[in-house]
Symmetry: C3
Subunit: 283 residues, 3 copies
């Protein structure tokens, strides 16, 4: 089934620091590999921006599947110690330093994006998969959370926009205000993801779906995405407003105090974040 | 875990006729206790208005949990024999006599509200829980219904607004046009409630969630609610329009005839309303 | 329970070529019977237009239940060889030749419509049931698909509008971009239908629901539908836009090539379309 990979020039340009990208037919498989816990820092953001730009420039690419090299963490969350660098990296795509706008660019792109989720996706990790066009998760291992309200702030990259439209007011408020961890079964029931599948079946399911979609005409992808997005994708203004509110929140003393307490308890370390839902309730 | 209750002045002011209110940390637990069947009459409306006002005035209160003292009825529905008094009681909150506007005030409030549902919630009872921020119900006993269309009228306090946004056009039309009773399992499947839980686990689940949310910064609650409501809460104009259409409907001969027939069959009595879904189909 | 059928004049006018219509109380049961596979061609469209017109003109009719005479096909899809005639037949309702506008007329009507689905509903068949007010399907036999994007085009009669609102962005994109078949269990989980029921219970369930709704005042149906539609029914402009985009797509060489290949493999034949999801991936 697999075509020869891209030409040498393309191949050369497809070198990333935190992503391992392979190609099969019209599908790119991008494996997030940013040890020790797939934090979203400037290197990963730079890679994602670069991948989107290169894939959009290549008419033979139609679908990107995102996976993780770490079975416990898909994307843990943004690296809170490097916000300034993150924003500089994000601005490379469209000039806007908000990660939410990078994600919205991806949602609005002609490229079809599929998240294959094993392990934890929290904070901007959850917002990343929400910005993908589809989400499939391992029943046994995937864990979802938007912990930001535990620090008194709204998620900064679109979670409230996506979750409210996907699961309705009541469930979105529960998920956001509880700032807790949710397993894949509830995530499916609530509409956070398309489906939870047994881990053993997940890769084959997603690969088949991606290759199938990639075999259909690109014109169909673009028109379908445009029409669906016109109904269900938040406006750039709404994404910006959430981003601004997040930035207003992180400079408050209350946020600062809680974040310092969280860092002392191991926030941003692999071990402590295995149960982040509990950690944020103990600050 | 529990803090000392409020100051004496607060305590004095927290006396209600149809609500038993206790406090634990930042959470108020309000038990609806309006025998014989928790009809929503002027006393209960007065109490709810008063509770909302006092809680909003007290910065140390962040969450209200609503429960019922009656295992068979959470809120049965509005007392149809006292519409005028009900409206006078409702007007005490913001000057608007529509119960739907009282409920919308609660939805838009910085206060986080959680409904813990055992027994029947129908008519304005269902609209009350829909206006809460989250809804959890006892799998064994909770029953949901919007019976108003069986009398030829639209629900008057926002049900069509909430249900359509929560469950989509097809399920909302089914629920409203059938005017029937729905159990907790289907209510969860349709999105009427967040989740159905075994009755034995319900209280602990809701209490933990409420205390958890109450321990997080108030700033986060307010910003999250504002942004989610901007997407998913019906406008005051839409709430008003439904209220007006309801009032236009209840004066028609068809409504009057059916309501009289219903009263003869025991409408607004505890026993007859155990199976109200059947009763309204026999008028 | 059953009332005498309509008057002779009504009866005479209720003769159809591809529909068998019977009446019980305020409910019409319309059985789609267009062998060999319930393709939606000009005769069936003419019948549907005529049925809607006659039912709307008869105040004693409140509900229409749609079923199929073919256990394998409810409506297979539009007859792609007769697009011009189809559009002429559609224009008979409101002057607009778009089938999507005929379906929107039905959604906006005071009539309550219920789809009782056994067998395949694909393309405009799926769009037909989506335009009904409620959808109940046989767990064992119902199969759902919007295969149009496999040919590079958006569905032309409102599928993207309905699916996005019913199931959210992620699931709508999956269903549309995969162009695949979905069974009744997933269709229920995704919100494509109200509920999947065992085939043995389906007819009784739908008949009871239809008669129940038909026994309630017509005024309630109209006001509930108006208010729900104001939130959740796509505008005529959006339906038109999708229709126009579809028509732009079907004249492209890519569409033409794929459609010719599909016809060679048996597209529009009963046997080959038993597994249409596979067929469209082999073009």
């Amino acid at each position: 089934m697999s075509k020869p990979i891209e030409s040498t020039s393309q191949k050369d340009s497809m070198v990333f620091e935190k992503l391992n990208v392979t190609r099969e037919s019209a599908v790119l498989f991008a494996v997030i590999d940013a040890p020790p816990m797939n934090l979203e820092g400037p290197e990963l953001i730079r890679d994602l921006v670069s991948l989107i730009q290169q894939a959009e420039a290549d008419d033979t690419v139609q679908v990107i599947v995102f996976k993780s090299a770490d079975p416990d963490y898909f994307i843990s969350h943004v690296d809170v110690t490097r916000i300034k660098e993150n924003r500089e990296a994000a601005a490379k795509l469209d000039g806007n330093p908000s990660i939410g706008q990078v994600l919205r660019h991806m949602s609005a792109s002609r490229l079809v994006t599929i998240a294959q989720i094993e392990g934890r996706v929290r904070g901007v990790g959850s917002e990343f998969i929400l910005a993908c066009d589809m989400r499939f998760a391992a029943l046994e291992s995937a864990i979802f959370g938007q912990f930001e309200p535990a620090f008194g702030v709204i998620p900064g990259a679109g979670a409230a926009q996506h979750l409210t439209r996907l699961m309705g007011r009541g469930r979105a408020l529960e998920v956001l205000l509880s700032a807790d961890d949710y397993d894949a079964e509830i995530a499916e029931r609530y509409g956070w993801i398309n489906r939870a599948l047994p881990a053993a079946e997940l890769s084959d399911f997603v690969r088949s779906l991606a290759l199938r979609i990639g075999s259909f005409p690109a014109a169909g992808h673009a028109v379908v995405k445009n029409r669906v997005n016109a109904i269900a994708l938040a406006s750039a203004e709404d994404i910006q407003r959430d981003s601004d509110l997040f930035l207003e929140g992180v400079v408050t003393p209350e946020y600062q105090r809680r974040m310092q307490a969280a860092m002392k308890r191991g926030f941003q370390t692999r071990e402590a974040e295995m149960n982040l839902g509990r950690l944020v309730a103990e600050l």
